[in-house]
Amino acid sequence: MSKLIPLSEAISKFMQDGESLYAAGFTHLIPFAAGHEIIRQGKRDLELARATPDLIYDQMVAAGCAKKITFSYMGNPGVGSLRIVRGAIERGEIEWEEYSHFGMISCLQAGAAGLPFMPIMPTGATDLEKANSRIKRVVDPYSGNELIAVPALNPDVAIIHVQRADINGNSHLWGIIGEQKEAAFAAEKVIVTAEEIVDESVIRSDPNRTLIPGFIVDAVCHVPHACHPSYAQGYYDRDNAFYMGWDEISKSQESVQSWLDEWVYGTRDHAEYWEKLGKEKHKNLEVEELLSAPINYGKY
């Protein structure tokens, strides 16, 4: 039974005001198109979790979608500060919950594995633990030593962008695979956006590449170039100029608003957004082919 629906339908059906969201992708395959659609649909009071909020959550916070943000590194990767989220925290306008990267990912891992917590070895740094009451201690029953414990994160919705999926949601991902698998298994509902919708036979030709099985997926959406200004390995490059440009745009609420007006509210969908970027930008982000050596599964 096909789960292929337009992104706008997936967001309106599966992402409700007040729910928690993990838009996955550590520095790669960041699902910007879905984030923009959430902004377009005016979702409110979301609890946003991501190891790196990145520009996607900066934009969603700027658009007023969020009441809380959970993160482990709140920067503009390779550029500097993430001005909107930072400002909201400094002014006390948003709730936040903070971990180290491994703390954050261990929360997701616990959620994916059906465990209530994950242990972490001591790090000596206890100030964050004092500031975040969700970080606790657990006693190793073998040595009697105290370890750090972090709680399971089970977001209501995970959004995962993948290079290719079939209409049932069976998904191939490659390149940096940060926490997509963990987010998908941790979440209650899973929305997959994909660069390409392929025949099931392509998925079945390489089952080791399928990090997300279709039966845990609720919706599959065909959204090429969904990650701009992030990237999809093998499909297009990271738009570093945009990441640097955002540092300027995000310096004032006015310029952010006018960017949102033009690029998100002012476009019907991601196809229009991409079109609007223009041929030259498309060309700049193009990437030459570099194929993997095939492997043989054998006919048995």
Binding site: F26, T27, H28, A51, T52, F71, S72, Y73, M74, G75, P77, G78, S81, L82, R86, I89, E90, G92, E98, Y99, S100, H101, F102, I105, S106, L108, Q109, I120, M121, P122, T123, G124, A125, T126, D127, L128, K130, A131, N145, W174, G175, I176, I177, G178, E179, K181, E182, Y231, Q233, D237, R238, N240, Y243, V287, L290
Partner: protein, 258 residues
């Protein structure tokens, strides 16, 4: 006075020299990345570079601009999940060296990358990006090096918030926490090297060419001790500078030619 060598040159070259052949290094972009690549092309050809995005043994064909740059992926040796990179590599003890930076570094090598200001964590005057991988690198890498410009505001007596543990209030306090890594072995600044003494206090142990102990003391927020056998670092060699400028950063993204 115009110096023969730039701050960036001195920090990168001296950081590179800290690395040993065969080291497995947990590395970020920017200057630490240049230091590792310089070491690999000089005295440490068997260096393995690991990025927290889960990339092992990258051979980028262009200078990576973020830790998730796709150029790190194509042609890398291995890629793993974020859970695995922190668990199986860092927590397990498979990482020899970590590079760190931070807004504040204190007398005992503790690092603050979280909040600035006296109102506490909940009411930050300046909210910084936070830990990312730093808390874990400082705890679990066998050796840590900190690269930072030598500035008084970066070197307070005590950091406002400990994001990454150095020696806490002294070496014995770090030891008592049971963390596996050895902590910061050296702070490489643009003036010289700070190394922990037997108590874990950072002291000035070497100066770069044309730099003075007075400048270091003046630009440190605590009463900086100077080692009895204060050394001088070797000046960056022509070959080191050639590799940096011609091979590693030909477009001058991180390095500006004097």
């Amino acid at each position: 006075m115009t110096s023969t060598f730039s701050s960036a040159e001195l920090m990168i070259v001296n950081s590179a020299r800290m690395l040993r052949d065969g080291d497995v290094v947990f590395v970020g972009v920017g200057q630490p990345n240049l230091a590792c690549n310089l070491a690999k092309r000089t005295h440490a050809p068997n260096l393995t570079m690991i990025y927290e995005a889960g990339v092992i043994g990258a051979e980028p064909s262009r200078l990576p601009l973020s830790i998730g740059d796709p150029t790190l992926v194509s042609g890398a040796l291995s890629i793993c999940s974020m859970y695995d990179i922190f668990a199986n590599y860092l927590q397990r003890g498979n990482v020899d060296v970590g590079f760190l930076g931070g807004a504040q570094i204190d007398r005992f090598g503790n690092i603050n990358a979280t909040v600035i200001g006296n109102n506490g964590y909940a009411h930050p005057k300046v909210r910084l990006p936070g830990s990312g991988g730093a808390e874990l690198i400082s705890a679990w890498a066998n050796r840590c090096y900190i690269m930072t410009p030598h500035q008084k505001r970066r070197f307070p007596e005590k950091v406002d918030f400990i994001t990454s543990a150095g020696f806490l209030n002294g070496r014995s306090e770090r030891d008592a926490t049971g963390v596996r890594g050895g902590g910061p072995l050296a702070i490489i600044t643009d003036l010289g090297l700070l190394e922990p003494d037997e108590n874990g206090e950072l002291t000035l142990t070497a100066l770069h060419p044309e730099r003075t102990a007075e400048a270091a003391i003046e630009n440190t927020g605590w009463d900086l001790q100077v080692a009895a056998d204060l050394k001088s670092t070797e000046p960056p060699s022509d070959e080191e500078l050639r590799i940096l400028y011609d091979e590693l950063d030909p477009d001058g993204l991180y390095l500006k030619r004097a």
